[in-house]
Symmetry: C2
Subunit: 328 residues, 2 copies
Amino acid sequence: QTKYVSISNQKGGVGKTTTTINLATALAAVGKRVLVVDLDPQGNASTGLGIDRADRTHGTYELLFGECTVEEAAVPSRVPNLSVIPASIHLSGAEIELIDVKQREFRLKEALRGAENAFGAVPGMSAPLGAQDATEANAGQNGTGGQNQNFDDAENGVSSAAADLNPTAADGKPVDAATGGKLVGVADNKYDYVLFDCPPSLNLLTLNALIASDGVLVPLQCEFFALEGLSHLVNTIERVRGSFNPDLELMGVVLTMFDRRNNLCTQVAENVRAHFGDKVYETVIPRNVRISEAPSFGLPAIVYDMKCSGSQAYILLAREILKRARVA
Amino acid sequence: QTKYVSISNQKGGVGKTTTTINLATALAAVGKRVLVVDLDPQGNASTGLGIDRADRTHGTYELLFGECTVEEAAVPSRVPNLSVIPASIHLSGAEIELIDVKQREFRLKEALRGAENAFGAVPGMSAPLGAQDATEANAGQNGTGGQNQNFDDAENGVSSAAADLNPTAADGKPVDAATGGKLVGVADNKYDYVLFDCPPSLNLLTLNALIASDGVLVPLQCEFFALEGLSHLVNTIERVRGSFNPDLELMGVVLTMFDRRNNLCTQVAENVRAHFGDKVYETVIPRNVRISEAPSFGLPAIVYDMKCSGSQAYILLAREILKRARVA
Ligand SMILES: Nc1ncnc2c1ncn2[C@@H]1O[C@H](COP(=O)(O)OP(=O)(O)OP(=O)(O)O)[C@@H](O)[C@H]1O
Ligand SMILES: Nc1ncnc2c1ncn2[C@@H]1O[C@H](COP(=O)(O)OP(=O)(O)OP(=O)(O)O)[C@@H](O)[C@H]1O
Ligand SMILES: [Mg+2]
Ligand SMILES: [Mg+2]
């Protein structure tokens, strides 16, 4: 079962992209199939994973607007088992352009997890052929139990009706009856982990990621301003869980750029552990200049300098996350 | 003449708020009357200047929606000559709420610089009484020359018609004929400098600041990802100058969190100076832990520890900015 994780914090510069890149690499290194989705118009995750600007024509923006499938958008990185759906500057216009699109908060979930998984039966949106079976299997998993039966009947009704109607594009691929765009493939069961690198704000792109996710990983710089924003982020996660995505949980908080010589860092770390208990990972990422050098070579720090303290910390973090997942 | 400056960079965590707070304090310390406008829903600038949460009920959000005047929103800080228009969490909803408001990009300029200065004659929006004379005087300054004459006639027509219509609120203050909100006062000639602390994105709030500004000051962290976003920011400034605000200029780039022991820092600094020449301030802000400690006491670093290297650098930066302004 694919695990979808948002790496999010509206405070800027706390290590979201660095955590996404290096955690993804460490998970891929132990054989997990990983997809990174770059939701930040700055495209730092795409750059840090070595994706050329020329290879970003089908990326997150196009995926959100149904202009390409997951397969077409996912670009292999230099790291085996790790692919990226890159971000281009078009993404900075997505928020405004999505304003009058129906179900605009669910676009990402729908694109990655299939229309029927995003918000049940959506009139006019046909499920990818063969996905009906998956829906039956998932019925119990969504946690809504009996109510799902009605959904499934309606869903099957919609799907079979739409299947007759289903136009095919010139290349023979089925297209989405509602938008006429390419019928998006799904990421389910193709990847073990899908990581969303979120922009530094709680906007529609971040909301799309939170709705598509099972968990949120929060990188937290050990500084006063970063601490100030944490309660607002946690409130937002609660609200998303309440009205859009009942499965969403706070997976954990990872302390980043930690400098043990600095009193403020130690104070902030103690404060966070006091409030969040074991939601704070034991692994702490130290401030380490090799980490900030790696992106200029288009390499994750783990590849650029595996032995440095920063890389070792991200490897330990991956191990801690996998251990917690097994126990859960 | 009041100088309006946006402190902006869509890259997160590069020192925008820290630069706004400390530059404002240094300018206030030499007798300039300064207003800081906090445009970031995180409200870091408000916190860093010691504004209690309870004192943020009339702030930037209310100003944008015409619910209060500049005088009502501006709160004195602990620093003499320095006031703040604080940010509350409501601001995170402003972007979506402003979507269908006419001239939504000009709301801030209008609120601070008066309706007639924002975008000439706006049907239904009455100029504050007595401002007509200022419009005559400004006619030549807007650089549009002859065309302004027509504007002025239309403007005067609108103003005098609106003046008769002008309803007054219960407290006798004139209200805005279009929105029925309080007629906003203006910041012109009440302050020498107005500094906008922008959020880490190029959204509608930042756009409002860029349109209300005469110049943009860009804090730049000497890291690879920060460098990557610079060209996009510069393009955005050009576009705003082209279609909304012909006076907008790139005032300068200030290198922040500089660590001379770190090769990457030195490389990025050389790269930026090679591209931007003397647009890069000579003053460089060093990484200095006292700077990051100050906000937890609600004090600017300059007040918290005047002698530390970070504070001294911000004092030098203020001096360099004032010197450049005199020469210009
Ligand atoms: N542990 C670390 N040690 C040293 N430098 C680091 C570390 N983690 C991140 N950095 C550097 O700090 C800067 C900010 O990190 P990063 O860009 O990952 O944060 P972010 O939260 O993604 O920022 P944004 O809010 O702009 O998306 C980058 O230049 C990065 O290289
Ligand atoms: N010169 C410096 N030396 C040490 N720490 C600094 C320095 N300048 C800023 N900081 C710290 O770095 C962090 C980021 O700075 P700041 O919050 O001012 O950046 P920002 O660009 O406003 O961030 P955001 O994008 O979230 O608005 C803060 O915790 C701040 O205290
Ligand atoms: Mg990032
Ligand atoms: Mg800030």
